[in-house]
Symmetry: C2
Subunit: 182 residues, 2 copies
DNA sequence: AGTGCGTATACAACGGATTGCGCAGCACTT
DNA sequence: AAGTGCTGCGCAATCCGTTGTATACGCACT
């Protein structure tokens, strides 16, 4: 149970709407913790009931009204409490990796095609993160060290994946060349 | 819904008990897909009802009896079907990363201690994977390319994390030196 | 006029996942 | 003699998460 804490962390710097949070989860933080808007709205509702967050209603023109959430004292206290206790191990669900593990039954061409498509997404993400890192580096590095470190993690992650993808491609192409030749 | 497929992949090579699978999920595959024994037993039950897997009861001496599961034809067909359709995006839940992102509210010493403990685990895992990779490399590389690639992923992942950890340590130590000096 | 996209919020239903508990025997240590 | 840890299986409750659906307005495109 800790989508709540991810939300509290995001609200720590600035107030945000559910929609804003959803966008952040889809981008930067999404690499490390993901959530859909339904989940976020639900959790914001719960947090609000428990007085961890507070919102003000902001009418808008041309756009639907929104609710801007911010941390309450109780929310900040809860966040500090959570930060102190050890985090659980990281969990991942990478379906593509499972497919590679079961690769002997798969069609190599299909796997290669999927690999390319995933690699493309990763490269785009890498570019986004690198641009972001540079911007953070140029402005005050000290104020947002934590932000910077988060982005660095994203960069290293993408690079590691892409390097692995090269190895996979090499092995698979080798294999497919074999089977084509036979 | 695809713990089922991870299980089918594991059963593809060899028959295994629920307990065996749980160990595999805790180790090698665990980096990419995790599951507890309760989940595994439940899923094996469902798979068995649907005739995707089949088990034989094996009495043992000195240990509890066990059920050794293996794929049926239907299970293999389902696996092949699943391998063809594109995998969803990888999902992660890394609580420690969330903590780093919210680091400005955290106690630097606590974070550093946790970083060390996680780094230790990662280093151990890295050693295990590297040993495994070497063994696979020495025996026939071609038979278990897929297995080898899975392990490679684990290695690259650990290395990327450890590199990131170095960056984090550097930043945090810098910070803590500042605050100690002031 | 109709279609699709972006902003913004929300409910309902189902299924997947975690947590807590329980049983059972053997081996090894303290 | 009691405690700890490993092998092995399983149920029940609850919570988390996904998917589907809904509403509402403005803007741009065809």
């Amino acid at each position: 149970m800790s989508l709540r804490h991810a939300i509290l962390v995001l609200l720590q710097d600035q107030e945000a709407s559910g929609y804003d949070l959803a966008r952040e989860f889809a981008n930067s933080i999404g690499l490390v913790w993901n959530a859909t808007h339904q989940q976020i709205y639900l959790e914001l509702g719960k947090l609000s009931e428990q007085d961890m967050v507070h919102y003000r209603h902001v009418p808008q023109e041309g756009k639907p009204d929104k609710k801007l959430y911010s941390l309450t004292e109780a929310g900040r206290t809860e966040l500090v409490r959570w930060l102190k206790k050890p985090a659980g191990p990281a969990r991942i669900r990478d379906a593509f990796m499972v497919k590679v593990a079961g690769g002997s039954l798969a069609d190599t061409q299909v796997l290669l095609a999927e690999l390319d498509s995933l690699a493309k997404q990763r490269r785009e993400r890498l570019a986004t993160f690198e641009a972001l890192a540079q911007r953070l580096d140029e402005s005050g590095r000290d104020d947002n060290v934590y932000n910077y470190l988060t982005v660095r993690r994203g960069i290293l992650d993408q690079r590691a994946w892409l390097q692995w993808a090269e190895e996979v491609r090499h092995s698979l192409e080798h294999r497919s060349a074999d089977s084509t030749a036979s």
